[in-house]
Chain length 560, copies 2
């Protein structure tokens, strides 16, 4: 290890140690327990203060129950936890995997078990996790329901047998909408340590999965550090590493090289592969009149290969072999939309939908191998064309989960594409998209830094939650209701703590009213004390209750 | 003038002078000309560079035509313009108003003229403005169409006869979706000069109208400065000033006090009044089980008054007199939604819709007086309940334009409510909402500063534009297409200049690639040179064109 590397390592470790001690304010990490001792599902409990006003004299101020929320931050969110990034995380699933492997030889995927009617510990874990906050509501999520959704192909549980560090999670439209964050260095920017930092940072802000899109040097080593330290499933686009192997010359790609990369990454523990097997030779001509051509990196690489060789896409030709490898490790397939539109002008065109139909055919093949599948989607799509994407996907891809990048609803706001795409993401989430790939403010402009990662994630947690509400997901509204009750009762600290980003909410409030006394004030600087509608609204209610009291009294007086 | 005031003034003037010299990069202010010399409609022309690659040897690099966009920045956007905030802006409409007043005694509203079949210079101005970029498309916007939309009550042109400084604009669902920015000090924060600064700042970033929601001291003086320096219509909520007059005690409000305020503000030149005349006494009880009660400031004040006096809302009782005042000055009415929901839990409830139906009745009364009307809408609404708002509004309010605050699609992200609400705003805009009232990141937390105003506006310009695209508004996609073409051709400077926020787009790009040479580079730091999909896509097209050339050659060879 060079002194330069050592210095980087020390910086990264020091960062991680700091981060592990800085959990969200007034929150504790708690666990749900399953049928066996080693099924412990973490969640975050946000503790709330009492209501500030006595309902009536002599009656104590009412407690507000804590709010429990899904937590992706893992041990990094545990105050005082001992983080050793060289050691990696605890291998949570190792025993489950070993037990299964000793009992049988073939069919190690969650889909294989699901189809056999076997509920794995992972499925039980997921059921507990998804059921958080809806335990007492109608239609709780059961482990059997999880198994069935996986068996039907409507949901996937990405969990490479060689990534035992991951905390099980599920992607499917009958579960909470998930968010993916892309990290990864390009050759121009970033270091390995920065990428591990971004991983921890991203899971802190709610990333459900991470895609490592590194393309620079040290691609293997970067991924190793990420996998060993990641509590969430890791996705990759193996063609990037394959291209590195042939010095960036797409024409030199071969199935043999690609297969080596697949095996290497599967062996390392990658949980899902984006494979651009739907970019067929015949479809390339369909992009020739597009405003922005082919904007998927993998898609453009495969198109170039096809054109150079005048041959069919080798990922399509060898798709059965790809499935066989994935089946061996339980790598899920994320069928890439190499021909997704990169501009409003190109949305929903024949190139895009031709590829989508091919992805539907490939889905059926993957399922023959018990390989879990999701389908990637666009891209840039104006609002009125978003629903058609979801409808076509459901129709042609046999209800395999949809996983979209945005979509961006306009092209005109680089620097704010977390917003242009947050709009589209919320909408397609409400229509049934299972996972939303975030877009950061740096999209189209450069490699995102840590702050961009956070901004992208917050925008996408908003989109995912708005979609959960719109779908009527049981329990989703509990956090909104807790926030709104705190708001109406002027419990400022609770409002901050319940927010997706407690630190920013508090900082914004404190810009104008930093005094501690204002944390219980019945106003903020937006309207001032005289014009606070909520304060006046309480006074209106007092009038209301006085009237009722008077009426009751009147009634008592006239009664015999 | 105290020395303190003088200092503030100097600061504000120096700011304005600086701002006037800092127009958007590579843009010029141009004018469309109407049927008379004094109809000059400003717009911004974004000049683009040539495409960087020769289509084939010997052929010059193609020009890219400039892109013309709607411009609200007025003379503040004119480099070197002489700004004198004490003098105020040029009284653009003064002659038009005077000419009309000399020819008749009654009926000075744009609605009155429209109904009589008269096309005012304001209508012609608006037609030119709305038609920008669609002159050569089917269905251009004509002055007669503008007149007819106003006559039908489907659109309003807010233009107080005493605010001749304003540049005419129109609010209606068959025109471009508009954005309103709220400014105004509260008693806790801000100064007059800061508010004028915010006005100029807001119009720079695209505010189509401004609401002055000041509630502190100097409410009259603040408004005077704003009106005399505002090129966009100014809206107010007169009940705020009325409440100041009775020392903040809602119970002491009277119709007499309110009427005085109305007359004062109308005389000053306010272009539209938010009037909470739909908060009927009977509806207040409908809010008693709400999570967040009444969250409109005006709504809560009127509810308190009604409860205290056990009387009907005096704004409802005196609505005819309000209309008579508005008719005299051409103040448009913005019928306030005093009972709008303030949380997801309270969305689309009976209180909200009961008030909406009353607003529909009031609309008909206002129209009797030739008063222009729009209807205010929520608030906090989950995505699946947004369309119902638009449908109910159209149904009960006779197609008067809808003007909504957001709506916020979740309550859980204070600090990011420009995003939670940008999602809802884009959706309701696509459904037909005519104007979107912005929400800044400070919503629920404090008074927005300049940066917050900008962030709110950018989010809402995105929402409005996304809605225009979704409605298929002719010409709207031109900017997206120009951006995407620039993107595909690696014209980085053009991409920045076409962006809603050119400065941020450039700054983000330059974080990793500041060198001038990278402004023509065929990659950015996101993917690096080897992995740029667009670069590869060009190579794919080269293969394509080579093949076609070969085919043509083959064909030539086999032909006799």
């Amino acid at each position: 290890m060079s002194s330069n590397q050592r210095q980087y390592r020390q910086q990264a470790e020091s960062f991680l140690k700091n981060l592990s001690g800085a959990y969200f304010p007034n929150s504790t990490r708690e666990f749900l327990h399953g049928s066996r001792a080693d099924i412990r599902v973490p969640y975050r409990r946000i503790h709330l203060s009492k209501s500030l006003h006595q309902p009536s004299p002599g009656i104590a101020m009412p407690d507000n129950p804590p709010l429990d929320v899904y937590d992706t931050s893992s041990v990094y969110g545990e105050p005082g936890a001992n983080i050793d990034i060289e050691q990696g995380l605890v291998k949570l699933r190792q025993r489950w995997i070993a037990e299964r492997q000793s009992s049988q030889e073939r069919g190690v995927t969650q889909l294989a078990y699901a189809r056999k009617g076997i509920i794995t510990p992972e499925m039980e874990y997921v059921a507990l996790r998804e059921n958080l906050g809806r335990e007492h509501l109608a239609n709780p999520i059961t482990a059997e329901f999880v198994r069935d959704e996986i068996a039907q192909g409507r949901a996937i549980l990405p969990a490479n047998v060689n990534h035992p560090e991951s905390e099980p999670m599920i992607i499917g439209r009958n579960f909470l909408v998930k968010v993916n964050a892309n990290i990864g260095n390009s050759s121009v920017s970033s270091s390995i340590e920065e990428e591990v930092e971004k991983l921890v940072w991203a899971t802190r802000w709610g990333a459900d999965t991470i895609m490592d899109l590194s393309t620079g040097r040290n691609i293997h080593q970067t991924r190793e550090w990420i996998l060993r330290n990641s509590p969430v499933p890791i996705g990759t686009v193996p063609i990037y590493q394959a291209l590195e192997r042939v010095n960036g010359i797409a024409e030199k790609l071969t199935w043999t090289t690609f297969k080596e990369v697949l095996l290497e990454q599967a062996e390392q523990g990658v949980d899902y592969f984006t494979i651009h097997a739907g970019v067929l030779h015949d479809y390339i001509a369909l992009t020739s009149r597009r405003v922005t051509g082919i904007v998927s990196r993998g898609g453009s690489i495969m198109a170039k290969w096809c054109m150079a060789h005048q041959q069919e896409n080798f990922l399509y030709q060898h798709f059965h072999e790809i499935c066989a490898i994935c089946a061996e490790y339980d790598v899920s397939l994320s069928l890439g939309d190499g021909l997704r539109p990169g501009s409003i002008a190109d949305a929903n065109d024949e190139a895009q939908f031709a590829e989508l139909r091919t992805l539907g055919e490939l889905t059926k093949i993957a399922w023959q191998y018990d390989v879990q599948v999701m389908i990637e989607g666009p891209g840039h799509v104006p609002m009125h064309k978003i629903k058609e994407n979801m409808d076509e996907q459901l129709k042609h891809c046999h209800e395999a989960p949809f996983y979209t990048l945005g979509p961006l609803t306009t092209d005109i706001a680089p620097g704010y594409d977390h917003i242009t795409s947050g709009i589209g993401a919320a909408m397609i989430g409400a229509f049934g998209c299972a996972m939303l790939c975030y877009v950061t403010p740096k999209e189209h402009l450069g490699l995102p830094n840590k702050e961009d990662v956070k901004q992208g994630l917050i925008a996408y947690k908003i989109a995912a939650h708005a979609a959960d509400l719109a779908k009527g997901h049981p329990g989703a509204q509990a956090r909104d209701d807790a926030m709104s009750k705190a708001r109406f009762e002027f419990r400022w600290d609770d409002q901050f703590n319940l927010a997706l980003d407690p630190l920013t909410a508090r900082a914004y409030h404190d810009e104008t009213l930093p005094q501690e006394s204002n944390k219980t004030a019945q106003f903020c600087s937006m309207c001032g004390p005289k014009f606070c509608s909520m304060k006046i609204s309480h006074e209106v209610r007092q009038y209301g209750s006085q009237r009722i009291n008077i009426k009751v009294k009147d009634a008592a007086e006239v009664s015999p």
